[in-house]
């Protein structure tokens, strides 16, 4: 009986949290299908026959470079993700499996990256990007986001790799498998759940970031979706229907990526890859 009650308690808590987390998103999605009047008369109401309107979406598709923003965001996120996973797993495997001079220093250096927010270095980063002539390029964003994502990635990967039995790598060495193949064919498949976890952790803040796109790549051609949406927010007039519609659309790709990755994560966990 008590275990059942505890189960209920846990579920109630999770449910409350889920409602809290989802309510703003639902609110945005809901109001994006309402006319301006509908939004302001009763923001919490569902769209009715009277207030239902797709005017926001129409304006977003007609008056903006939505597809360009999407493409920019996707390029930045996916390239960063790939680089973080490749370099992060390599660094983590090196730190976990090899003893070398300076291993502790490198590990601490990377751990420092978790503790110090990268935004503190914004001025220096802008300076650097200007000197490199990378302002208003997606490369600038990608480089910064790789630096932002790597420390956490290395940390999580190291934890997972510590669980890969040492005997496996040793057996492969006896088998004559080259070191890089050990990493690629034995270690990587075993930490698949970790890769999915890291991808989710790294992906979401990048997709949602407004700070660095605003500072490093505000030009017409390099705007990301979060930055692009801002064009509907004016100093005096804000086109709320369009803003909410664009925001709702912005959620879709990340949601799809998230679902794909979390399925991969669960599959990895249930397969019991490390047992």
């Amino acid at each position: 009986m008590t275990t059942r009650m505890r189960l209920w308690a846990v579920h109630v808590m999770l449910l409350v949290y889920a409602v809290l987390a989802l309510a703003p998103v639902l609110l945005i999605a809901m109001n994006s299908f309402k006319s301006r009047k509908g939004i302001f008369r009763d923001p919490l109401a569902l769209p009715t026959g009277e207030t239902f309107s797709t005017v926001g979406y129409e304006r977003v598709f007609a008056n903006s470079d939505l597809w360009l923003w999407f493409a920019n965001s996707l390029v930045v996120t996916v390239v960063t993700l790939a680089a973080v996973v490749v370099f992060g797993t390599m660094a983590a495997w090196a730190l976990a499996a090899y003893r070398f001079r300076g291993r502790l220093v490198v590990g601490l250096f990377l751990a420092l990256g978790i503790m110090v927010p990268i935004r503190l270095g914004t001025v220096a980063i802008l300076d650097l990007m200007t000197s490199l002539g990378l302002t208003n390029t997606l490369a600038a964003l990608i480089l910064v986001y790789i630096a932002q994502g790597l420390p956490v990635a290395v940390f999580i990967f190291s934890e997972f790799m510590a669980q890969v039995p040492r005997d496996l790598a040793d057996a492969a060495r006896c088998d004559g498998v080259p070191e890089f193949r050990i990493y690629a064919h034995i270690v990587l498949p075993l930490i698949r759940p970790a890769i999915a976890t890291v991808a989710i952790f790294v992906m979401v803040p990048i997709w949602n970031d407004l700070w660095f796109p605003l500072i490093l790549a505000p030009g017409e051609g390099t705007r990301t979706i979060t930055l692009g949406v801002q064009q509907f927010i004016g100093q005096y007039v804000t086109d709320w229907s369009a803003v909410l519609a664009a925001l709702t659309l912005a959620v879709v790709p990340i949601l799809v990526l998230y679902l794909a990755l979390s399925r991969m994560m669960v599959r990895g966990l249930t397969e019991g890859a490390l047992r």
Binding site: A171, A172, P178, R181, I186, L274
Partner: protein
């Protein structure tokens, strides 16, 4: 030719020495068992032979060639791990063939080798399964198969049976012995189990605290242990060690009496003893005795042993069976 020659080998981790002055030569085709309590350095020695660990000093040659500078795969060895170390995400077939892909072996050749080895080990039907779908014994076979497929000059076994249950351990032990005969390869086998060591070894190496205590055939080592540690390590039940006045009679600081060399004397000759406890094992009985002259003793008796009367009896032994040790615990010849 695949003899293994080790001279003056030492391995130190900072201040602590894992191996000290180890010299050993294993002849081609010999089955050499390294045995000792846990932490005695036997696994470290095996890993150094494999090239997974680097020695601090000393020399190592395999098949007459200096092996120290060679990577594990170049040494002509194959290792079977205690944990099996099968790649969990690959099928048994892939586990066995994976290493060969990097050895410039052609694809049909790989296939043929894997299938014939699988045939030999009776795992042909299991090749498509992943390790998680195999039992402990089957995993062990796949691990051994992965070693055989490489055609190594020297097989290295690191406690390969210790994760198996007792019944399976006995049959697998037999199979390894059969395999050794069939392949004729040099094998170096690490275990802490004296039964495995005694039954498998051509050459038995007893280790303790990073040093070799004795090298010899199993019977040699059992009959003529070099010191008290070896005498005590081998044999079940454990050897009886007697010190004091009776040992002095033999001109030794202590004497060793194997439980099977003690006999009960009905005539009242010998040393008076009292039965403390009897362990009937079915095939035999272990009788725990207490003697004023000899101290606590264990005696191996026939299975129908029973205590008669008040449990007082007499123990005798042949002088020729007595093992003599000096005050440092070393054997006196």
């Amino acid at each position: 030719m695949a003899d293994v020659d080790i001279k003056g080998l030492a391995k130190r981790f900072g201040e602590t020495a894992a191996l000290e002055d180890v010299s050993l030569s294993v002849a081609d085709g010999e089955f050499c068992v390294l045995v000792g309590p846990s932490g005695c350095g036997k696994t470290t020695l095996l890993r150094i032979i494999a090239g997974l660990e680097t020695e601090t000093e000393g020399s190592l040659s395999i098949g007459g060639a200096d092996a120290q500078a060679l990577a594990p795969a170049r040494r002509g060895i194959a290792m079977v791990f205690q944990s099996y170390a099968l790649y969990p995400h690959m099928t048994a077939y892939r586990n066995m063939s994976f290493g060969l892909k990097f050895q410039k072996v052609s694809r049909p050749d790989i296939d043929e080798r894997v299938r014939s080895v699988a045939e030999m080990l009776g795992i042909s039907d299991l090749l498509h399964r992943k390790p998680a779908e195999l039992s402990g014994g089957q995993r062990q076979r796949v691990a051994i198969g992965r070693a055989i497929v490489r055609n190594p000059k020297v097989f290295l076994f690191d406690e390969p049976l210790s994760n198996l249950d007792a019944a399976l351990r006995a049959t697998t032990r037999l199979e390894i012995a059969r395999l050794h005969k069939a392949l004729g390869a040099t094998m170096i086998y690490v275990t802490h189990d004296q039964a495995e060591a005694m039954t498998l070894a051509d050459k038995m190496v007893v280790m303790k605290d990073g040093r070799i205590e004795q090298i010899g055939t199993p019977l040699e080592v059992y009959r003529k242990p070099a010191n008290l540690f070896v005498a005590g390590f081998l044999g079940h039940p454990k050897i009886n060690i007697v010190t004091g006045a009776i040992a002095a009679e033999y001109g030794a600081a202590s004497i060793g009496l194997r439980p099977e060399h003690l006999t009960l004397s009905p005539s009242g000759k010998g040393y008076a003893a009292r039965v403390v406890h009897v362990e009937p094992l079915g095939s035999e009985a272990h009788v725990h005795l207490r003697s004023d002259a000899l101290g606590p003793l264990i005696l191996r008796a026939p299975s129908d042993f029973s205590v008669s009367g008040d449990g007082d009896l007499h123990v005798t032994f042949e002088r020729t069976r007595v093992l003599l040790f000096d005050e440092n615990g070393n054997a006196i010849n």
